[in-house]
């Protein structure tokens, strides 16, 4: 198994190189440049050309790509044209914000979604099950940004229970003060995100449990006199969780993706907004770095999912 994992990791290297060339070319093929649209009529176009030149944007693409690769091996992803600071620093700052929010939201999603889904499946057609189904239909049909705006309005502004903008209070004391402030700031967007995302898990799990309840091995267990509670605990729940486990790897590596809606409405500077603004501003260095990072994480997610599946299901082996 270790050999396989190592081989899979090595395969990622050429994939990343291919992805980097593709991203580099596609980014350059987009119309415009980092200075388009921010023109100052008092400035001369000659000055804009000057800025393009000193930033190497008039070099042939292969030269630009080569420069980028050389810098990459020195741990330098270049300077952002928009932010005028090293890409690693901006991505680092945003990644930390995104991780705080995403980890909390993901933990809450699974912590609430798993028991609710299992409960709904086990008590099919009960009143609670109907209520849960209505909830999932509502959340499936309401756009996410509406949930965010409503949640912010009710719990942030009307009831005043949570901070409404940003990732930390401007005047938070250093140390524990800033940790507490950060936690306060992620609770509302994190919970809203969790209550919205758990719909899929609940529905999936509910139907898995219902299917498993009618399967042969459950019938056999029941006929052997195994108590219902044990059948659910040891047979049905474990098997029903397998499809959810299959996506766990993606969920872990997807933590850095960020959410544009949440970040915009809560003015929370994270990876989602960084990616969108990098595309709008043609901030090539940031675009390339982020796509590569997301690509790498995606490949890693696939591998992780396979490993997790193998760990939880004895029938599966990575060969």
């Amino acid at each position: 198994m270790w050999k396989t994992i190592l081989r899979r990791l090595l395969i990622i290297i050429p994939e990343i190189i291919a992805l980097s060339i593709l991203v580099f070319l596609l980014a350059k093929a987009m119309p415009g440049d980092p200075f388009t649209g921010s023109i100052n009529p008092h400035a001369s176009l000659a000055h804009i050309h000057h800025l393009m030149r000193i930033n190497g944007l008039y070099d042939p693409w292969y030269q630009q790509y080569w420069n980028w690769v050389v810098h990459l091996f020195h741990g330098n992803l270049g300077m952002s044209y928009e932010y005028q600071e090293p890409v690693t620093r901006i991505v680092g700052e945003r990644a930390i914000n995104t991780l705080w929010l995403a980890v909390f939201a993901t933990v809450m999603t699974y912590a609430i979604g798993l028991p609710v889904g299992l409960y709904a499946g086990r008590h099919q057609n009960s009143r609670s099950d109907h209520a849960i189904r209505i909830y999932t239909y509502v959340t499936l049909s309401v756009p996410f940004f509406v949930v965010l705006v409503l949640g912010l309005w009710i719990f942030g502004y009307m009831l005043g229970w949570f901070p409404t903008t940003g990732s930390i209070n401007t005047n938070a004391a250093p140390g524990m003060g800033s940790v507490i402030s950060r936690i306060q700031h992620i609770v509302l967007p994190g919970l809203l995100q969790a209550f919205f995302s758990l719909t899929g898990i609940v529905q999936y799990l509910r139907s898995e449990v219902i299917d498993a309840t009618h399967s042969d091995y459950v019938r056999t267990a029941r006929s052997k006199g195994v108590p219902v509670r044990d059948v659910f605990r040891h047979h049905i729940f474990r098997n029903s969780l397998l499809p959810i486990t299959a996506t766990a790897g993606y969920a872990i590596t997807g933590l850095l993706g960020g959410s544009v809606f949440t970040e915009t409405i809560f003015s929370y500077p994270g990876m989602g907004l960084l990616f969108v603004s990098a595309i709008n501003y043609r901030d090539y260095t940031v675009i390339t770095a982020l796509v590569l990072l997301f690509g790498f994480l995606n490949m890693l997610g696939t591998l992780l999912s396979d490993i997790i599946m193998a760990a939880v299901d004895p029938r599966i082996r990575i060969e």
Binding site: G37, S38, H42, Y83, E93, F145, Y157, T165, T170
Partner: protein, 592 residues
């Protein structure tokens, strides 16, 4: 800080609601704009101290560059405004006025501007602001290694600046420090003088100082990413930066070395708030003021929020149509008119202008904050805007007549060129909100009414980058008319936008008369304001007749002010010292 930049902006900044307004015939009523007070007068007595809470309305995090020489967007200047101050105060028309951090003296015959710093002007670390700090600020903007986007053609009028900018010289020969680097006087020598030099934001000199003693060892290319610029900037403004949370908030405490009256509040916080959340934030009375762009569409709701008084000021955003009349010759660096261009017939252009129903569009969708622009000098420039020029109000009959006279006869539904060929006019517009799209659709409908087959370039509005890439190409046959917008600075000279060698004259309109009129506006004789006004009027009349560029719309920027705030005004004469003057009349925000 509101007088820093001119930028090309998307139409989204200007436009408002939804649906197309259509009506036939002549324009019956002009749009009535709401009249908002320029200032909020609070008669209550001020408390001692208190923290002023400001919302910066924006859907993206700010970039965090505290230095205006290096910042490339309005958001950074908004969130760091309490610590940034222009070297010069100005009057309500943005003309420099002595009495601020530095005095300004212009000598036409010697072709110099002398800047004299106040004796008590100090950085927030207690060190004096010196002549070298002013000189180095010019170097930061103009250095060949600089990442600054503020270098301008106007700045190259300083003697020796071109050589310095090109890297041929290590110093700017046209800048003298008669009392030495630690003195208080800086003399700028110019190749030629222009009346625009008397106005803030005209770009002839960079109007800020840099703390040379703090940043001298940092290469200019790396200044924007340095901790000195990002986290620990020095300031000679009323406040100094206490803390910045990357992309989301800033907080300030009074600068104890401030040259003027001590700030009346004990602190300022500026927090980014998204456009979708700002209405609720104000309803919860979380902020005293807003800066940045409040969406016009939210005005009807925001103006009703209790505890706030809505103030307003004429907007510097200005929408306009441009016709493609030629190309930019890269060898001579001049625009050239091309008589074979589709839109070279002035009657065709005038007819298109008369067919637009901007009064109705602004009236129905502007919430009272937008109106038809009548000349190429917006009403914002009260001194130079020609009120007697009514531009092109809707007149379908006249539009048809002009087209008939010019030989654009109808064949079926559409008109043809005078030589009988099909006429398809390509309209380049930018993608925006549903409202923007509806307005753009309305222009198409109006042109269709007079038989002109006008179509979007590639059949749809364009993404901003593609749009400007096309417009800035030296030559393009893909578009015949475009719709764009300017954010004007405080000096309205048309030289950089409509001049013969102006690269932003993207319609490439050039005539001897236009050059002559623009040159008169910028001539030494125009240091006499009444003469300059006459020249501006003549130029506006000429440009209306030529219809190479059509003014589209302009409006009012509104800003709610919490009723506990004292001394708030939009008067440009107070902009430079506003944060020092603002006071509070209670400890918590007013709810009524």
């Amino acid at each position: 800080m509101s007088k820093t930049k001119i930028a090309l902006t998307g139409m989204a900044a200007l436009s408002v609601l939804t649906l197309a307004a259509c009506s036939n015939g002549n324009s019956s009523s002009s749009n009535k704009m709401v009249k908002l007070p320029q200032a909020y007068k609070n008669s209550k007595s001020a408390i001692k101290g208190g923290t002023l809470k400001v919302a910066e309305v924006n859907d993206a995090p700010f970039q965090g560059i505290t230095d205006p020489a290096l910042a490339s967007n309005a958001e950074d200047t908004d969130v760091f405004a309490p610590e940034i101050q222009d070297l010069f105060n100005n009057d309500s028309h943005y003309k420099f006025k002595n009495g601020g951090p530095a005095n300004f003296k212009l000598d036409k015959s010697a072709k110099t501007i002398t800047v004299t710093l106040r004796n008590n002007l100090k950085w927030s670390d207690g060190k004096p602001v010196t002549a070298k700090d002013v000189e180095y600020a010019q170097e930061v903007v103009a250095s060949p290694d600089s990442t600054s986007q503020q270098y301008s053609d106007s700045m190259s009028q300083i003697v020796g600046m071109d050589e310095f900018h090109a890297g041929k010289s290590k110093t700017i020969s046209g800048i003298d420090m008669p009392d030495g680097e630690n003195g208080k006087k800086v003399v700028f020598h110019f190749k030629q003088m222009s009346p625009g030099m008397q106005y803030g934001g005209s770009g002839f000199i960079w109007e800020y100082a840099e703390p040379y003693h703090q940043i001298k060892d940092i290469p200019i290319a790396k200044l924007a990413s340095s901790a000195q610029v990002r986290k620990n900037p020095l300031s000679y403004g009323p406040f100094k930066l206490k803390k910045v949370v990357a992309g989301e908030s800033t907080s300030f405490v009074p600068n104890k070395y401030y040259w003027g009256s001590k700030p009346k509040t004990s602190g300022v916080t500026v927090q980014v708030v998204s456009t979708s959340a700002i209405e609720q934030a104000l309803k919860s009375h979380k902020y005293d003021l807003t800066v940045g762009g409040l969406p016009t569409s939210k005005y009807p709701q925001i103006k009703k929020i209790s505890g706030y008084t809505t103030t307003g000021t004429p907007s510097r955003s200005f929408g306009y149509f441009g016709f493609n009349l030629g190309h930019f010759d890269t060898k001579t660096a001049e625009n050239v008119m091309d008589s074979s261009k589709k839109m070279s017939n002035v009657k065709l252009r005038q007819a298109m202008a008369y067919a637009i129903n901007q009064d109705e569009v602004s009236k129905k969708f502007g919430n009272g904050l937008s109106e038809r622009a009548t000349t190429l000098v917006p009403r914002f420039f009260t001194q130079f805007h020609d009120n007697s020029n009514n531009g092109y109000p809707l007149n379908i009959k006249k539009a048809n007549k002009l087209l008939d006279e010019a030989g654009y006869k109808k064949k079926g539904k559409w008109r043809q060129t005078p030589d009988g060929k099909p006429l398809v006019i390509n309209f380049a517009a930018m993608k925006g909100s549903d409202t923007v799209q509806a307005e753009e659709d309305d222009y198409l409908q109006q042109w269709h009414k007079v038989g002109l087959d006008v179509k979007y370039v590639n059949n749809k509005p364009m993404e901003m980058n593609s749009f400007y890439s096309m417009l800035q190409a030296p030559s393009s046959n893909k578009f015949d008319i475009y719709l764009a917008a300017w954010q004007f600075a405080t000096e309205p000279s048309p030289q950089q936008t409509y001049g013969k060698s102006a690269q932003f004259n993207m319609g490439h309109f050039v005539t001897a008369k236009n050059t002559e009129l623009i040159n008169k506006i910028d001539s030494p004789k125009s240091f006499d304001t009444s003469y300059r006004k006459q020249q501006f009027k003549a130029w506006q009349t000429y440009m209306t007749k030529e219809a190479a560029y059509l003014p589209q719309s302009e409006g009012t920027d509104y800003s709610p002010v919490n009723n506990r705030v004292k001394n708030f005004t939009n008067d440009p004469a107070h902009t430079n010292t506003q944060y020092a003057e603002l006071a509070l009349t209670s400890n918590s925000t007013a709810t009524k």
